[in-house]
Amino acid sequence: MPADPPSPPVLRLTGITKRFGPLLANDGISLDLAQGEVLALLGENGAGKSTLVAILFGHYVADSGTVEVDGRALPPGHPRAALDAGIGMVHQHFTLADNLSVLDNVMLGTESLWWPFSRRDAARRRLVELGMRFGLAVDPQARVAGLSVGERQRVEILKALYRGARVLILDEPTAVLTPQESETLFATLRQMVAAGLALIFISHKLDEVLRISHRIAVLRGGRLVALLPAAGADKPLLAEAMVGRSVEMPRRAAAPARQGAPACELRSATVLAPGPAHGRPLLDGVDLQVQPGEIVAVAGVSGNGQAVLAELLCGQLALDSGSLRVAGRALPARPRTFVDAGVARIPEDRHAVGVVGDLALWENAVLERYHRPAYARLGVLKRRHAMADAQALVERFDVRGTEAAGVHTVTRRLSGGNMQKLILGRALMAGGAARTVPPLIVANQPTWGLDVGAVAYVHQQLLDAAAAGSGVLLISEDLEEVFALADRIAVMHQGRLGAARPARDWNLASIGLAMAGGGQRQAAMTAGATA
């Protein structure tokens, strides 16, 4: 990035403090942001990033402290005032109306209710002009439903620019992008900065943060623990500032694949879409083998069929054609038969699918196995037994946040990391006290939204399980994770799965190309040429 940012602060936060009951979410945070500057906001989940941004936007009222734009204090609790002052935000989960055109989405909410005519032509000209200026080419007439994720993000940015944003907050903008799309985004961001916009960049990908930002603010436990120029900072330093101690991320040591029956074998597995779009393949002739003791990662941009693959391997979905064998056996597509076959399943959405939030921790610990003789006799739950096993899980998997109520803790109250430890423990402790090893582990985005410490823990558990002989299928959109853990990597694009090749044969460029469908297009072209 260009050297020094110009001086006058466009945004200044002074002593922002916000308390939720006993929790101090923001503790005297002071920050300023200059024109043409990129400030990265780093921090684990719960460090106070979201609260700070919500205060900035007027969604929350700070207990004390002020937000100033161009030297004028914003009235607290008025999102409108923040928007009018030129603060814009691109959320991680887009806020677009799918059934409207790009232009409609951008204009939505900007027109006066008292003026009967729409100023569409002027708006279209302005939109096209903004797009040209910042390299954000999108067809104003296109319906949002038909746009790719990258294009939708461009619409979100255009929306903020159209409203005259001078300070733009980007919340994990690269989480949904391929490496190549991320590059395009960075080029756009550089143009915006050159034009004098100020950016706040929220991310947990340290590489990107180091590349794109001028200064880096690290939050931990609601406090600003570090504010340093990006030049001279490095990853270990930032990770340590975020966590408060040094974290060693476990990595996969080369291990010979074991012989024997594959833990999981898919052959020409095809799943067709249900409902009105019937016939379109969601999973299109997928071949995949996972050997015992091996970690195979399926990478890909979100929404290319990974969810369907995960549901298939968790027993939630039946094949339309092809075959699926787990440890050599074909299983009927029912979650319970997969559990009984020893498949350890870690779902993508831990809140909505992994646990029943309103039940107690011990009840979630036995959610998959409550009907077994170990936990039930004649339809009566052996509650003590279940609670004792849950207690063992809490201890072995170091589930925190249970000091007050123990295994009776309402599961919803657990942090994401501890909830994931509970799910992991439930899946891996299948044999109860006897430490049998699950033949297959299906982990779908197992570290999504977790903080660094929890990520390291989950990774270590998966590595240990593989070392003990489990076949691990890791479905992940996080390439850092994929490269850290996998023995072999396959890339998914539009329901097709490429060949799983050893991790050392891939690099960021080749995997990015495959994620964008490049590899397959090439293959298809070659096939066409031969035919």
Partner: protein, 356 residues
């Protein structure tokens, strides 16, 4: 002013909520009492006295509470599993009709079976009738995704018309001088009175046992565990391997059976025959009671007694100071809304500040 979510539900608010809800309810209702031209304090005193103030009042309240406990349980167990059974009223009527079909004096004498056989058969028939009536909507919900609120609600009207047809047709009591009412139950099948000079009958202990059993079922059994898990998060329950559709069906059978039993108990314990006005909305009040009780089976007993007391007390208040009895319905309905709002405040707090 705006709502802000509390990080942890407040314990003091949870304790204060019902008190505040009742206070709010009485506040709203007193406007109506005053509007009707009656002295508010006196009216409330009469309401309380009429519901709970004498031996007679208490026996009347408990008599009224008996079917309400059962319909309250029916709603509570169904709602726990997110099966919104609004059809308890219809299930109650069909249960009552089934009870009379088995135990009525058809042809002047009825089935010639011993009481020890006929009484369980009568109860079973009532439970089965209610259960089967809810089975259809439950299957349509779990198989086809048809909204059970609509189907169960509309079934109420179908059942009422069906009952009307039966009371004017095959099951009509020839000795009723043209009134559309069913034949009476055989004398030995009718429930015993519990006290002298009071109508409270042995259906009350029966309903209490049902509440205890349901509480134990939900807390200690695998079935109860499934019901609670499916109700709280059906996706997670299905992922973990619970048979969600089958759980819905089991809950439907249980809920419908409880409502059907309410009908049988009401017939066997009070009138002895079925009429089209035998239930002043017990099925619908059951929903209110279940919500007041936060869907807890033992709470349902308390809530049913509370609602019954207000309904009974309102009658005597109405007679004494000339306030319409509808005030009771208003109080019960307002209590429901007040409790829902009060529960909201255990999870949210009101913040002074500009509107976002």
């Amino acid at each position: 002013m705006r709502l802000e979510r509390r990080d942890t539900p407040s314990r003091s608010a949870a304790l204060l909520a019902p008190v505040a809800a009742i206070a709010g309810t009485l506040g709203v209702a007193s406007l109506l009492v005053a509007w009707a031209g009656a002295p508010v304090a006196q009216a409330y005193w009469l309401l309380l006295e009429g519901g709970f103030g004498s031996r007679f009042a208490i026996t009347e309240t408990l008599t009224r509470a008996t079917p309400l406990i059962l319909t309250g349980l029916a709603a509570a167990v169904a709602f726990r599993a997110r099966l919104f059974n609004i059809g308890a009223e219809g299930q109650l009527y069909l249960g009552a009709l089934a009870a009379v079909a088995v135990g009525g004096l058809h042809g002047g004498s009825g089935w010639a079976a011993p009481v020890w056989l006929l009484f369980p058969a009568m109860m079973a028939a009532a439970a089965l009738a209610g259960a089967l009536l809810l089975l259809g909507p439950a299957l349509m919900k779990s198989r086809l995704g048809v909204d059970e609120v609509v189907t169960t609600l509309l079934l109420n009207f179908i059942v009422l018309l069906f009952v009307g047809a039966m009371l004017d047709g095959p099951m009509k009591d020839p000795a009723a001088m043209g009134w559309p009412q069913s034949v009476a139950l055989q004398e030995p099948l009718q429930l015993d009175r519990l006290v002298e000079r009071g109508r409270v009958h042995s259906g009350l202990p029966g309903a209490l046992v049902a509440a205890l059993l349901l509480w134990a079922l939900l807390k200690f059994t695998t079935h109860g565990f499934e019901i609670r898990a499916v109700g709280a998060n059906a996706r997670a329950a299905a992922f973990a391997g619970m048979p969600v559709g089958w759980v819905t069906v089991k809950v439907a059978l249980l809920s419908g059976a409880l409502a059907g039993l309410a009908g049988a108990v009401e017939v066997a314990g009070r009138a002895g025959y079925v009429t089209l006005d035998m239930s002043p909305g017990y099925g619908y009040s059951g929903i209110v009671i279940a919500m007041l009780a936060a869907l807890h089976p033992l709470g349902v007993v308390a809530a049913a007694v509370f609602v019954a007391g207000i309904l009974v007390g309102a009658d005597s208040m109405s007679r004494a100071v000339g306030v319409p009895t509808y005030i009771a319905d208003v109080i019960v309905a307002t209590a429901l809304i007040a409790v829902l709002v009060a529960t909201l405040f255990t999870q949210y707090r009101l913040r002074r500040g500009p509107r976002p």
